[in-house]
């Protein structure tokens, strides 16, 4: 069998890692050494009501109403929805359809910033985390309006509610930040260690785990040095370096790298006793929860081509891209504006698009973007099979997509296991937009299933 293994797998080095994946250029040096600064308040912020994977929140403010920074302006609608808080002190200009990062125009609360305001957020009495029960704690997490800041926008309180019958023993803290260009998590782990440790404790208590492992890519040795002195003596929280490789930050990959176990196909980490949270999420939770505050701002890497003031900034949720480009002094005339990293981010179509809770990076790509739009036929080189971290056959899937055999893709080729990391498109010599094909196929399949009842 060892020979067959040679054919199936690349030999794994001694570094903790997962098989396959890719090694894109990192481009992190542009911002990784720049300490986080505060972005000034934009004259107007646009807060989309839909900022988690659940239903849009329900606005509880009306046109002309004065709001104070940190005040609740929308409440959750259902378990997968989160409340929203005013990112600035100002006046509600209205609730209107505006472009959002997802591409579609959606309802947004527009607030005109009050120029004279001191912009000090509402802050409650300090609470003692230790004395709170698990239910109280999860409710407190829900009240912060926290979603996964890594980009998926999954409501954190929902993730912390362990499904019935499952037992979580270890919290995995994801500090990989494997996407090129991004350095927000890196800065957070350097600058916000105490809040991060507190956030990890909150998460451990909520899911009733007695261990936590922080996983960091080994391109950030400074993080290991910075965090190690703050770890508790009892060894309940540890930190481990994993290989710098994309998509190391995908939760299934990170779990495999750290523990050598596979999350079941179509399953959740909770199925094997794990819960995964992003470092920025937990650090922000550690900062907000003790004072009962809401998520109104986040650290964002503003980076890319033609920017004079790239760096990491604390940006109020709802700040429009136009203002960010202006502030960072964008000197170009034409570019791709990407919310998120260059592998999985979404392209913004309008300068009025605001940053949301899930936006970790504003990336302006011009020279470094791949602008080749010619698609050549698949030559079946098999590079995509050697890149796909979950062992799909993107080559076959791509050909099926071209023939519109979406049902076969799902039933025989595990389309729904694809988490759209983009490795296959990255390595494709024929420039075939494989991930895009798969996204379309998934949507059409979902539509078909709905129509069939």
């Amino acid at each position: 069998m060892s020979l067959l293994k040679l054919f199936g797998r690349k030999t794994v080095s001694s570094r903790k890692t997962f098989p396959k994946g890719i090694h894109p250029a990192e481009y992190k040096e542009q911002t990784s050494a720049k300490p986080t600064r505060r972005l000034p308040f934009a004259p107007q912020v646009i807060v989309p009501l839909s900022q988690s994977i659940g239903k849009p929140s329900i606005a509880v403010v009306h046109k002309g109403q004065q709001v104070e920074r940190g005040e609740v302006i929308a409440v959750a609608d259902g378990p997968l929805s989160v409340p929203l808080h005013a990112p600035v002190t100002g006046t509600v200009k209205g609730i209107e359809l505006m472009p959002t990062p997802s591409g579609a125009k959606k309802d947004c609360i527009i607030i005109d910033t009050q120029p004279s305001s001191s912009q000090i957020p509402i802050r409650g009495e300090e609470r003692d985390i230790e004395s709170m029960s698990r239910e109280e704690l999860i409710q407190a997490v829900k009240d912060t309006g926290m979603v996964g800041l890594g980009g998926a926008s999954f409501p954190t309180h929902f993730k912390m509610t362990v499904p019935e019958g499952k037992k979580v023993h270890t919290v995995i803290v994801n500090g990989c930040e494997c996407e090129p260009f991004m350095t927000t998590d890196h800065r957070v782990m350097l600058e916000n260690v105490k809040n991060l440790i507190l956030g990890i404790r909150i998460a451990m208590k909520c899911v009733d785990a007695d261990k936590a492992i922080i996983g960091v890519e080994d391109n950030k040795p400074d993080v290991l040095t910075a965090i190690k002195p703050h770890l508790p003596q009892d060894g309940s929280i540890t930190i481990e370096a994993v290989e710098t490789k994309y998509p190391q930050g995908a939760e299934k990959m990170l779990i495999y790298s750290l523990l050598g176990v596979e999350v079941p196909s179509r399953g959740l980490p909770a199925d094997i006793g794990l819960a995964v949270f992003n470092v920025a999420t937990l650090a922000e939770l550690g900062r907000l929860l003790p004072h009962g505050q809401g998520l109104i701002e986040r650290v964002i890497t503003i980076t890319g081509d033609d920017l004079e003031k790239s760096g990491n900034y604390i940006v109020p949720i709802g700040t429009p891209l136009r203002y960010i480009l202006q502030y960072a002094n964008f000197t170009g005339h034409q570019a791709e504006l990407i919310l998120g990293g260059p592998m999985m981010g979404t392209a913004a179509a309008s300068l009025d698009t605001p940053v949301t809770k899930g936006t970790g990076t504003v990336l302006v790509l011009d020279e470094r973007a791949t602008k080749n739009d010619d698609i050549l036929p698949c030559i079946k080189c098999g590079k995509c099979l050697q890149a796909c971290p979950i062992n799909l056959n993107p080559c076959e899937l791509g050909q099926l997509a071209a023939k519109r055999r979406y049902d076969v893709m799902e039933e025989q080729y595990h389309l729904n296991d694809c988490f759209e990391c983009g490795c296959c498109s990255y390595v494709c010599p024929s420039n075939i937009p494989l991930v895009q094909y798969f996204r379309i196929a998934k949507v059409l399949n979902r539509e078909r299933h709905l129509n069939n009842g």
Partner: protein
């Protein structure tokens, strides 16, 4: 920021890509073939050179012509037709009549590639389709071998090279007799083995001082050129390894059964077109499998079939049919060797 709003480009993720493009890969394969071509010219002289030029011109011309016919952009820029032309020339006898080479080149592209829909859609390796055609159409010419290092190889063509279409060629045997260094019988090592029971020394096979098709004699050079492509990550060494492994196991089995009747595994590996096929023919991306297990099975199968045909078939040049067989089996092998996806239960496979 400029006064005017910047223009926003919209594409889909990933926004950065870095991979050698198809034309780049194909170009490097051509580079890797050039030393073999050069050595072939050194060995066999201007006839081999003329053969390469004519077949390549034929394949490229045919590709261009069919693109024009279909009112599509010409695809000759992707270099795949050049590869087909060179591969074809390198599998033909050095003194193969040029007009037959041109026919082979035309058939390679027309039947082997365009008919299926062009690059990426061909089921078989186009060069081998062309070779199989000329093998069937011109059985005498394709088995007429001339010696390597003939004295006047750079000053005159092998008589058969310049044969007119559909005319009887000048007899090559006489020319061979006059030019050969000593005692050349016009037989390749494989033919010697098969019909006369004579073994050629492994060192001669490795260095290529024997008769054979234009590109097959020196296993050493072929391996070096292949290593360059492996280093460039443009050649799947797993297929090459599997073919050699399959040949080794099968030939070794028969040799152990009866050493006096069946040749050794190393003879099988280094003789004929096997090494050339293992490095440059079976690894043709389009017609080879993509699944890891499929790659192994097909590679092994090609090695196995080669030995079986060589030992028990009527032909000496078995590799070609073994590969065409492997190409035909590829889709079905792929269909049941899909990789186990991450997190799938192992017992369900």
């Amino acid at each position: 920021m400029a006064e005017k709003s910047p223009k926003i480009d919209i594409r889909t993720s990933p926004y950065i890509r870095r991979a050698p493009t198809v034309p780049e890969i194909m170009r490097h394969v051509v580079y890797a073939l050039l030393p073999i071509c050069a050595y072939s010219v050194y060995q066999f002289g201007i006839s081999a050179l003329a053969s390469m030029i004519v077949t390549t011109a034929a394949t490229v011309g045919t590709e261009h012509f069919f693109c024009r016919m279909a009112e599509k952009r010409s695809t000759i820029g992707d270099f795949s037709a050049v590869i087909t032309g060179l591969l074809l020339a390198l599998t033909l006898p050095p003194g193969f009549p040029l007009w037959m080479g041109a026919v082979g080149g035309f058939v390679s592209i027309a039947l082997g590639k365009t008919l299926f829909g062009g690059l990426g859609f061909n089921v078989f390796n186009p060069a081998l389709v062309g070779r199989a055609f000329v093998q069937a159409a011109f059985p005498v010419a394709i088995t007429t071998w001339t010696p390597a290092f003939a004295l006047n190889r750079f000053s005159e063509f092998i008589p058969s090279t310049l044969a007119f279409p559909f005319m009887t060629a000048d007899p090559t045997a006489e020319w061979t007799l006059n030019t050969a260094i000593d005692g050349f019988t016009g037989a390749t090592p494989l033919a010697l083995m098969k019909f006369q029971g004579v073994m050629t020394d492994a060192k001669d096979l490795f260095l290529g001082t024997v008769a054979g098709s234009a590109g097959e004699p020196s296993s050493l050079l072929i391996l070096l050129c292949g290593a360059y492509l492996v280093y460039k990550k443009m050649l799947d060494w797993r297929i090459t390894a599997a073919v050699i492994f399959g040949t080794f196991i099968t030939a070794g089995f028969f040799h152990l059964m009866n050493p006096s009747q069946y040749p050794s595994a190393s003879f099988m590996i280094f003789s004929g077109g096997l090494m050339f096929a293992a490095v440059f023919m079976t690894t043709d991306m389009v017609s080879s499998p993509v699944t890891p297990l499929g790659i192994f099975i097909i590679g092994f199968l090609v090695g196995f079939m080669t030995v079986i045909i060589r030992l028990f078939g009527a032909l000496t040049e078995a590799v070609m049919y073994a590969i065409l067989f492997g190409n035909a089996a590829t889709p079905i092998i792929e269909s049941f060797t899909q990789p186990r996806i991450f997190g799938a239960r192992r017992d369900k496979d």
